[in-house]
Symmetry: D2
Subunit: 340 residues, 4 copies
Amino acid sequence: MSLIVILKPKVTEETIDRVCERIRELGLAPHVSRGDLRTVIGAIGDEAALKQDKLEQIEGVDSVTPITKPYKLASRDFHADDTVIEVRGVKIGGPHAAIIAGPCAIESHALLFEVARQVKEAGAAVLRGGAFKPRTSPYAFQGMGYEGLQLLREAGDQLDMPVVTEVIDPRDVARVSDYTDILQVGARNMQNYNLLMEVGRTDKPVFLKRGLSATIQELLMSVEYIMSEGNHRVIVCERGIRTFETSTRFTLDIAAVPVLLRESHLPVYVDPSHAAGKRDFVADLARAGIAAGAHGVIVEVHSNPDQALCDGPQALLPLEFSRLMQQLRSIATICGKTMA
Amino acid sequence: MSLIVILKPKVTEETIDRVCERIRELGLAPHVSRGDLRTVIGAIGDEAALKQDKLEQIEGVDSVTPITKPYKLASRDFHADDTVIEVRGVKIGGPHAAIIAGPCAIESHALLFEVARQVKEAGAAVLRGGAFKPRTSPYAFQGMGYEGLQLLREAGDQLDMPVVTEVIDPRDVARVSDYTDILQVGARNMQNYNLLMEVGRTDKPVFLKRGLSATIQELLMSVEYIMSEGNHRVIVCERGIRTFETSTRFTLDIAAVPVLLRESHLPVYVDPSHAAGKRDFVADLARAGIAAGAHGVIVEVHSNPDQALCDGPQALLPLEFSRLMQQLRSIATICGKTMA
Amino acid sequence: MSLIVILKPKVTEETIDRVCERIRELGLAPHVSRGDLRTVIGAIGDEAALKQDKLEQIEGVDSVTPITKPYKLASRDFHADDTVIEVRGVKIGGPHAAIIAGPCAIESHALLFEVARQVKEAGAAVLRGGAFKPRTSPYAFQGMGYEGLQLLREAGDQLDMPVVTEVIDPRDVARVSDYTDILQVGARNMQNYNLLMEVGRTDKPVFLKRGLSATIQELLMSVEYIMSEGNHRVIVCERGIRTFETSTRFTLDIAAVPVLLRESHLPVYVDPSHAAGKRDFVADLARAGIAAGAHGVIVEVHSNPDQALCDGPQALLPLEFSRLMQQLRSIATICGKTMA
Amino acid sequence: MSLIVILKPKVTEETIDRVCERIRELGLAPHVSRGDLRTVIGAIGDEAALKQDKLEQIEGVDSVTPITKPYKLASRDFHADDTVIEVRGVKIGGPHAAIIAGPCAIESHALLFEVARQVKEAGAAVLRGGAFKPRTSPYAFQGMGYEGLQLLREAGDQLDMPVVTEVIDPRDVARVSDYTDILQVGARNMQNYNLLMEVGRTDKPVFLKRGLSATIQELLMSVEYIMSEGNHRVIVCERGIRTFETSTRFTLDIAAVPVLLRESHLPVYVDPSHAAGKRDFVADLARAGIAAGAHGVIVEVHSNPDQALCDGPQALLPLEFSRLMQQLRSIATICGKTMA
C-alpha cells in the first residue's frame, strides 16, 4: 500500500523538500514526480494508509490518495495522463506513434548504414541495433560490443535518428549510456533487478521488454524497480510469451497492449519480429500491434537476411518494411494516433 | 502420406467416377473436390506414394502430387486458392470479410430480436446465438435448447441474416441443422471426433473453434475429420489459448491468423470476446484480428450485459459495437478485403 | 452455493424421501449420498444460503452446512472420508493402492491375452485396453470397437481382473457398459458434458482423465457433472498438461495429486505413459506418482512395442513393468498404503 | 558442432598442453576436463567436423568423437559417468543423495542458528539461506546482504555443514565466494549470461536453478556458459515452471529429473518449496522428486513461518521436515542411492 500526495499548483522547491522530509519522518519513502502543472509525490511504505490524515495536513499538499496496486509509480492511479517521452525530437506515447527499426545485431559499418538509411527513408523514427547480444549458446556470436556502439552512434548522428541498444550487465550501464539515446533491457533480463536499478539511475529513457514468462503485473513491477530509482521515462514492450504453440517462436500476447494501456500511463510497444521468429508473419503481427493500440513496433530489418549473424529468418527486407510502414500509418490514424 | 490427383479441365462426371473407382481399387480413399475450372481428388491411405505412377496413368488425370502434411484436405497443397463460402448470400473467405455478432446465449424473444436488429443495423452480416451452452458447472444455465433455436431461426429469417449456433452432441446434429445456416463446434469439443464426423456429414458450413490448448496443427487435423466426411465448407476460429497470463480470460494467439492463412485455404476468424473475457479489451482484439488478416470476427453483443445469463462481462454494448464496425471496415480495406 | 444436509443417524428411507421432497419445494435440487453411518443430502440451487434455516427445521435433519466451492459432491466438504471404490473385489482409494496396466489399444486376441497374463503376474490389479481410440488424425487406427471389447471382457474374466476401457460417444455408453467394469473418459472428452452425464447415469465406476489444459478445479467440475447424475464412484487421473516443454509429450503435473487429495474425497491416479510419451521416463514418473500420494498408476505395457498400432514408444516391456511393480509396492508402503 | 578429444591414459601435462595448442591452431577452442583415468578435451568451433582427421593424428590422442547436441560439456556424450561433487566432505551426485535445507532468507542470528541445528539434526547435509533476495517488488525485503552471509558462514562452520547461498549480481561473485561453499544462481538469473560466466570463473560448485519458462535444453545451455569458463562442478535444479494451473505457485516438471539424468552427467535436484508455494504440498513433491531419481531436494524450513520475512507460507516446520527426511531416506534406497 502507498499514498499519492498531490501538491498544490506552483509550489516552490522548498515546499517539495519540506513535504518529502515530513514523509520520511512518518517512516515512508518519498518519490517525487514533477509534472508541468503539478508535482506529485509517492509515499511508499508499511501502514501508509494510517498516515493519510497526517500527510493531508502538510502545507502545500492538495490531496492524498491511496494506491492498492502492487505497482505504484507505473500505475495510472499515480499518473492519470499518458506519459509522452521525447528523445532527440521524436515523441513516443500518448497520441504519438513512432516506429523503431534496424538490424538485430550491428555487424559492420556497411550493413548498419545501409539498413539505417533504408528504414529512415521508409519512415522509421528510431534506429535499433544490438552490440551486446544475449545468446542462448556461449558458442554463438555475442555482438561487436563497444566498437558496434560507436558505429550505431555515428549512424544515428548522421541520419539524425535517436538510437536504442540493449545493455545486459550492470557494469556496462554508464558506458553504454554515453553512446545511446534509449537503453534497452531485454526479455531475459526483465527480472535482473540490479540491472534495472542501474538503468533507473541514468537519465536515458528505458525500453523494457516483457520476459518470456512474465505476467503483465510482473512487467509493471520491473518498471517499478526502474522508476523507484528516479527514472520515470520507461517504454514497455510486449514481445511474445512462451506457450505450447510452436508455429511461431513465441506467442504474441496481443491483449497485453490494451491491458498495459489501461493499467499504466507509459508508452506501449510490440516486437513482432521476436514473437514471430519467421519473416512471413512479422508484418501481420506489426499491423495487429498498432491496431490493438500500441504506440509503436520495433522491427528487425536486414538487407541480406541470409547472411545475418543473428536472427536472419525473422528480419524483414527493406522493401517489405517500406510497404508495411504505409499500412501502419493508416491503421495508427484509425486508432487516433499520429505517426512521426 | 497422400496424393492429390488433379484432373484435366472439363472432364465428365463419368471420368470422375472412373478415377475414384480406380483409386479405391488401389486401396486408397478418394475425396472429390470440384472447382470451377478443375476437379481435384485426394487419394488417402497407406503407401499412397508407391501408387503415384499408377494414378498418373489413369485417363483424365492431369498430374499427381504428394502431400506430406498430416492434414490433407485442409491444406493449401490440396487447394491452392482461398475457399469462399457463400451462405444465404453472404460471402466468407478470400477477399470477403464478414462480421458475426449477437448475444452469447439466446435468453428470450425480446432480447434476441433487439440485439439482432442492433447488430444488423451496425453492419453485422451473420447473427450468432447459443441454444445449447457447454458450461463448466452442471449448475449453471445450460441454454434454451430447441425453443431457443426456433427463436434464432425466426430472427434470422425476419432480418434476412444467416445464423450460426453451437451443437454439442452428435445426437443433436441433424435436428439442429434444420434451424441453423452454420453449425458451430466449440473449443471444448474441438477433439470430440464423433461430433466432428457428424457435422461433416451435413451440408451446412461448420464454424470450428480452436481448443484451449490445441496446436494449430491439431486444429487443422480436426478440420480434416470434418472434411474427410465430405463437408468441405469449414471456417476456423482462433479464440484464445490457455497460458499463465491472467489479465485476460485466455491469450489470443493472434499469430494463428497468418499461420492458418498460409497453411490452409479456409476462412479464418477471431473471437475477441471469449479471448478477452472483459468488455474493455474486446474492440482492441477485434481490430487486431482484422489487421492480422482474419476474414472476420465473432463478437458478443448484449443490450443489457449486467442481466445476461451467460458471459455478460465480455459482451459489447450495441453502441460500442457500432463504433467498432466502422474501424473494422477501414482496417479490412487496408488489408485488401471488402466487408459485406 | 449449496447446502449439505446431514441427517440424524439411522433415519428411515421415508424420512430421506420427505427431506428430499421438502428440498425440492424450496426450489433446490437434492443429491442423496448414503454413508454407513449417516445419510447426507446436497441441496443445490440459487440462493440456497437463504434457505438454511428452513432446512434445519425439517424432522430428521441433524445439521446444515453451506459449501462455497464450485464443486459440491466432489468436495471434501461434502464427504470428509476418502471414498473407497470396490470393483470385482479390487479396492481403490483410501488406504488401498492398485495398479492398472495393459496395452494402449486392443489389437488382437493373442497380444491382449499375452500382455494381460504378464501384467497380472507382475501384480497389476486392473486390466486396461482401448477399443475406441480418439486419434488426432482421421487416417490413424481408430480401434477395434465392440470386437475388441469382447476380447477385453474375455481376458478380464479368464484372469479374474476387472477391466477398464474408454468410451468416446454418448451413444455408446450403454453398450460399452455391458462389457467393462470401469468406464474411462479420456482427456480430450473431459469437457464433453453430455458424455459425462451419460456415464453418470450408469452404475459403473468412472475413470476420468484430466484434460490437457484443464485446471484442477475444472477437472472437479467435470466430476461434478458425473456425480450430479447419481454416480458417485469416480476416479480422477492426472495425465500431464500442455506446456512449452517438449522433452516429454506432456508435463506431468505431479502436484495435482496432493491438491486433488486435499480438495476431494475421490481416488487419485497418475498416467505416466501418456505424460512421458517415451518409455525411458515412464518408470520414473510412476514412482513419483505413488510417492506423491496417488492411489495408483495406469501404465501401458506391450510385449512388442515396435509393432504396436498405437503409442508404442511409450509402452513398457513386461520385464520393465515387473521391476517397476516392486518399487511401487515399497513406495506405497512408505506412503501408508497397501497395494492389492 | 564440436569434437570430444579423448587422450590416452596417463598422458603428461606437456602432452595436454601440446594438444590444446594444436586445437587452437586449427581454429577451435579447447576445454580440458581432467578425469581420474583419462583427460578429455572438448574442441569447439565452426566446422569442427572437418578437422576430426587432423585431431586424431596428434600424438597422445586416443580417439575423437563429434557431439551434435548444442550443449557439449554438459552432455553425457562428453562425460559418460555421473559427476560426483564433493564439498566439505559431502558427496553430491552419482549414487549419493544429500538434502539441502534451511530458511528462505537469513533474518537473524537466532533464527538461522535455531533452524540450522534443527535441519542438521533431522539429517540435512547442506545448509541454505538467502542473503541477497531477488524480489518481484522493489518495496519488499531484499535480504541482509553481507551481514547475513557472515552469519551463514558462522552457522556452517559451527555445525560443520557446507552452505549454499544465492548471488544475483556479477559484481558480487568474488566477495560472496569468500563466504559460501556453493554459489546458487536463481531461476530469474538463469539466462543472466554475464553472471553465469562470473560464477564459471570461480572454484565453487554452482547450484543452478531452471528458469520459470526455460526449456530443459536452455537450462543445459546455461550450464554450458558456466562450464565453458572452466568450472565443471554444476548442480542443476528443477523448481517448477509457469503454466496455467494456479493451485500451486509453479508446476513442478517432475519429468525434468529423468530427462536431465539422461542428457547430462551432472547432479540433479528438485526444489519442492518454490514449486508448491504452499506448505501442504511440499513433502509430497519432495518425495516425488527423490522417487523420480533426483540426487536431492532443497527445502525451506522455518521454526516460525508466520513471522518469516520471505515465503513463510511454503516453509516446513522443523517437525514436518524431520518426518519427511525419514521417508526420503527410504525412497532414496529404493532408487539405489545412499543418503549422506
